[in-house]
């Protein structure tokens, strides 16, 4: 049984059906890539998995570590070990990165707050892993951050919260090659060191040059139309979405 089991997931937003029956299994220690053209429903899936209130699940279930979380509150999903790295991280003025991290860690620990020393050690480790400046953690979260800084802050949070399964929603978008490499290497290390399971959602292939997924899924029009290994990425690179669409369309 997989850690995260998505079954026949149908999702609508404002009366429009976006996901039309998605099945997906993700476990700790696995790296999955979910690829698809714009509008295929990638971000809808990411937001739905974390319980965004604007997305309505009309059919299907999400089971995480044996618990049905289809109706769970976002913070309950997070505490269970799910994480979402946002495509567009929101700024939280007035709260430093470090303070926010401590709040998030303490929320997860449920009334057993982390010791200052332990927190500092963990933070130091994460900072080195992601090659960020220490001063970074005293800045207000995402407030005035560059695109690259925001994405690093996402991965920093992921490192500190040590989820079982992380969904990375277009984490590669808007990054220059150096930032992309740092972020990708960070994810790779967490995968290797902590056994992180990841669902990397992306439109492009370039992040997958740094993180090698074991499983690749292609999402089109709200359905997963192709599944395979890393060879799918290469095929996509050669042929593009249009050709795959034609082929799948012809088959259907």
């Amino acid at each position: 049984m997989a850690d995260l089991e998505i079954r026949d997931l149908h999702v609508r937003i404002e009366e429009r059906e976006i996901l039309k029956g998605v099945d997906l299994d993700i476990s700790r220690g696995e790296v999955h890539a979910l690829m698809g053209p714009n509008g295929s429903g990638k971000s809808t899936l990411a937001n739905t998995l974390l319980g965004h209130p604007s997305y309505e699940i009309t059919e299907g279930t999400i089971v995480f570590k044996g618990e049905d979380i289809t109706e769970a509150e976002p913070h309950e999903r997070a505490k269970a070990g799910l994480f979402l790295a946002f495509q567009y991280p929101v700024s939280i003025p007035g709260v430093s990165v470090a303070n926010f991290l401590r709040m998030a860690i303490n929320a997860k620990r449920d009334g057993d707050p982390i010791q200052v020393k332990e927190f500092r050690t963990q933070l130091q480790h994460a900072i080195e892993l992601l090659d960020v400046d220490k001063a970074f953690t005293s800045r207000h979260l995402n407030d005035g951050f560059s695109g690259g800084e925001k994405k690093r802050a996402e991965i920093l949070q992921m490192a500190m919260l040590a989820p079982d399964v992380a969904i990375l929603d277009e984490t590669d978008s808007g990054l220059d090659i150096d930032a992309l490499r740092t972020v990708a290497e960070g994810v790779q290390k967490l995968h290797e060191e902590q056994g992180l399971g990841a669902l990397i959602i992306t439109h492009y292939q370039r992040i997958l040059h740094y993180i090698k997924p074991q499983f690749v899924h292609i999402l089109m029009d709200g359905r997963i139309v192709l599944q395979g290994g890393v060879e799918l990425v290469e095929r996509l690179e050669r042929e593009g979405y249009d050709q795959i669409r034609q082929e799948v369309g012809a088959r259907a």
Binding site: L50, G51, H52, P53, E73, P74, H75, R77, A78, K79, L82, F83, L84, F86, P89, V90, S91, I92, P93, G94, V95, F100, M103, A104, A107, K108, H140, Q157, L161
Partner: protein, 464 residues
Amino acid sequence: MPEVQVKPGRHREASLYHALAGAGAGNGRTLEQLREAALKTYETSELPVWRRSGFWTTNLQSLDLDALQTGGAGDSIEVAPGVVPEVVTRTLPDRPRAGRIVQSAGSVVHVELDQELAERGVILCSLEQAFVEHRELAERWYSKRLPIDRHKLEAANAAFWTGGAFLYVPKGLVVEDPFEIVYAIEGPGVAQYARTLAIGGESSEFKLHEYDLAEDFEGQALHAGAFELYLQDGARCRLAQVQDWSPADRSPAHPEVYDVSTRFVGVGRDAYCHWLPALLGGHLVRQHLELAVSEPGGDMAFRGLFFTEEREHLDVFAVDLHETGPSGGDVHWRGAATGESRASFEGLIQIDPGAQQTHTYLQIHSMMLSPKARVDAIPSVLVSADDVSASHGGTVGELDEAAIFYMQTRGLDRPAAVRVIVEGFFEPLIAELTDEPLEEIVREKIAGKLAAARDDIEAYATSR
């Protein structure tokens, strides 16, 4: 004198919003003469009504003034001298301080002043005592810029005040720890006429913290305050006020405190004041806050925050007055409202003729935390000089649902996420207090009020 709009029929006179401007009532008169003049005004005037064109009225018709007592000498409300009210010991930080004066109802119950500072000429005592022991000094400054006859409660304060606080920091003295002035109301039926006079001598530097606190009780009380601070040439003061007449831990009683106060800070040549009132609660609060740069080179930072809840009514008129130039000003307020509370903030930049080379900016940011709460923010600019810059800006916001979801995905539940947002909203101003114990009090109070409004905020979210 403000213009008074007189309307026929059943309408009462309504005061509009004007800067105090010009000299106060003092003007060479003795305390006794001022009390007598104020008494006449008191006897011949009605409770005030303030009206802003059409949509905003502050009136005191629900206040039963005749049922209140001052709690001063000869009154039946007894306050034991030497006994500091519980709400004061509970709220104020245990921290190094230069001195403290505590008034409950109409009586000063506690005065302390660092011995060394006393020897170096600092005076901290009740205003009553100041008129006995330092009469010439007190009379020179008393009501220098404060009027006594704009409305009944202002007159009542000037006529009836007892106790009071007097602070004098002599020339050149730099005081590290804050002076604390506390006004407490411990029970219903009190009319507290609070009167503070503070003077910073040339090139002195000090901090002044005022606390206005009420105990949990049921029933009406009034705090009619008059505050004046004068900073002489080169003096620097960090002035902060924590006002909370509705403690968050109240249950089941509801203190119903009316607070009608006027506060004036005069900034002398090359002097500087950083002023931050934190208006955190009161059944009906009307504050006229005026920071005037009176001499060339004066500079100020006028900060403020407010938080209203339940059915509270808050009316703030904050004036950034420039009487001469060059001078600087920077006004920045932030407020949030929950429940069915209503808050109105008017910020006025007034630059008088001749106040050339004045540069000032006013910003007001507000946040509505419930569907029935309302905040009106009105910036206004009155400029009578041509070589100046004066501008204003601001935002009105609601809770950012995207930010809440973001924090929820990190494990914070909704109330915790809301708290982060609201605290973050106020944090830039709180951090400017640059005084950790004081910052903590303000943070804790805001957190307490948010916790009390939890259901309300939740209902707002699900209603959208």
